[in-house]
């Protein structure tokens, strides 16, 4: 029984714009670290944003935990989103807020408007935030402002924020593109280890094929909105990669 199944997904950004996704189907199983690779502009970011409907899909279906995502009304959509953690390429932290408040903001989907007005999170949330920050190695930076941290540290805050949601699925949008190779590996290992501990499947955009081979078990390759490859990461051949990246002209 897959956690997430996507069927024939089509999407475009504006009603007159070009079709970005031209019918994508795949399934994510319970223990997957699922990679989406492909050249820039292939539709990787659009695909991942359709899953939690930051981008509205035009056609097709997305099944998550037995429910249809594309039909959800706003209130249920927020409930869905709080079950899906997201980690971003540029970390997407609120720079003028403390590390602690950034991590706690991962709980906003569970927090009422009145409580969030005074940043009055339950003690259990605060305790969990401290534990997570300790776990990702930021014990000494809890009360610093987010923009005082280095890139690698900021992405660790991003990881803690996503895990704060107690997600059933993690979406990773190029989580290492803004980091150097050594820190990229550290961050990927941390995400893999914590996802295993918490038993959360991962769907991950990544353009570094080497990293995808190293950390992921399944791979799909996108090219210009079409799925060009699907298989186990270990089965992926050089010829497959050449087919996926064949159209990269720009």
């Amino acid at each position: 029984m897959p956690i997430l199944s996507v069927k024939d997904l089509k999407a475009r950004y504006s009603s007159k714009g070009p079709l970005i996704l031209k019918g994508i189907s795949f399934e994510v199983e319970e223990k997957d670290f699922f990679a989406i690779i492909g050249p820039s502009g292939a539709g990787k970011s659009t695909l991942i944003r359709c899953i939690n409907r930051l981008v509205e899909p035009e056609e097709g279906s997305i099944h998550f935990e037995g429910g249809e995502v594309t039909a959800l009304r706003p209130r249920d959509l927020r409930r869905l989103r709080r079950n899906i953690g997201m980690i971003f390429q540029e970390f997407n932290l609120v720079n003028r807020m403390s590390v602690m408040d950034n991590v706690l903001s991962g709980r906003l989907g569970y927090t009422g408007t009145f409580r969030s007005l005074f940043r009055w999170f339950p003690t259990s949330d605060v305790r969990r935030a401290i534990e997570l920050l300790d776990r990702v190695g930021l014990r000494d930076h809890i009360n610093k402002r987010a923009d005082e941290l280095s890139g690698g540290q900021r992405q660790r805050v991003g990881i803690a924020r996503a895990l704060m949601q107690e997600p059933k699925l993690l979406l990773l949008d190029e989580p290492t593109s803004a980091l150097d190779p050594k820190i990229s590996r550290e961050v990927m290992s941390l995400i893999r280890d914590m996802a295993r501990e918490l038993n959360v499947p991962i769907l991950c955009n990544i353009h570094d094929v080497q990293l995808a081979r190293e950390f992921c078990n399944k791979v799909i390759g996108l090219q210009d909105g079409y799925k060009k490859f699907e298989g186990q990461a270990v089965e992926m051949q050089q010829s497959d990669l050449e087919a996926i990246y064949a159209m990269e002209v720009l």
Partner: protein, 274 residues
Amino acid sequence: MTDSSTANPAFLQEAIRKRRSNQLIKFLLALAVFFLVLWSIDATVIADTDWERIGGLGAILKSLARFAELDFSLIPHLIQPTIETFMMACIGTLLGCLFSLPVAWFGAFNVTPNRVIFYPLGRMLMTLSRSVHEIVWALIFVAAVGLGALPGILAIAMRSVGFISKITAEAIENIDPKPVEAIRAVGGNQFQVMYYGILPQILPVVLGTIIFEWDINIRRSAIMGLVGAGGLGLTFFRQMAMFNYGGVTMVILAILVLVIFGEIVSHYVRKAVT
């Protein structure tokens, strides 16, 4: 020189002729402006002034000297209006901030609830607030709620909305959308997206603007009394009506002290928040 010129002679002549006629037009225009200025001085100053009443230069200086005879007995009566003026500025600015919240929300293109109705409405309110002078606002509110500090506060609040909400709306339009996306992705509602994703980003600009506006509002509240809306302006008006020119000077000094105080506070607080 003529040998090295590559332009054909007819073209050269034409260019020179054009330049001359342009210069002539400019000269005629300057002449017209000169006579227009002369005419307006004659019409407004020379013909419209009661020269006999002014008398000579000595008489002018004598009139001005009346303002120099400071009336220190007025000091105890200045304390309360000074405080009232200051309070009017503070409360008016606060109220203006409150009014600015929805106006900025409506008038920021990226967050407006509706781009066809609310966006133009927000922009219109911004313009309305600034295009009506504070004295005119005060007159309207004196007519509506009577004399006293309240109409002054309302007038200052209405006049403040335009600037505060315009700067706030522009700050909202210039935010980094990435944190907003993150708050939407964790399942935050509309309020949470604004409060956690947008507000921290615009706060320094908005606070700086509010303090700047407060500084200006101290000046504004000092003249509110001229139309019966309380504060130092009212004292000024009374001293003027009693021809107590020394007292008028005292009021002006009180306003000066208050304004300087406001500027000093504004300078340091703005530095601290931005």
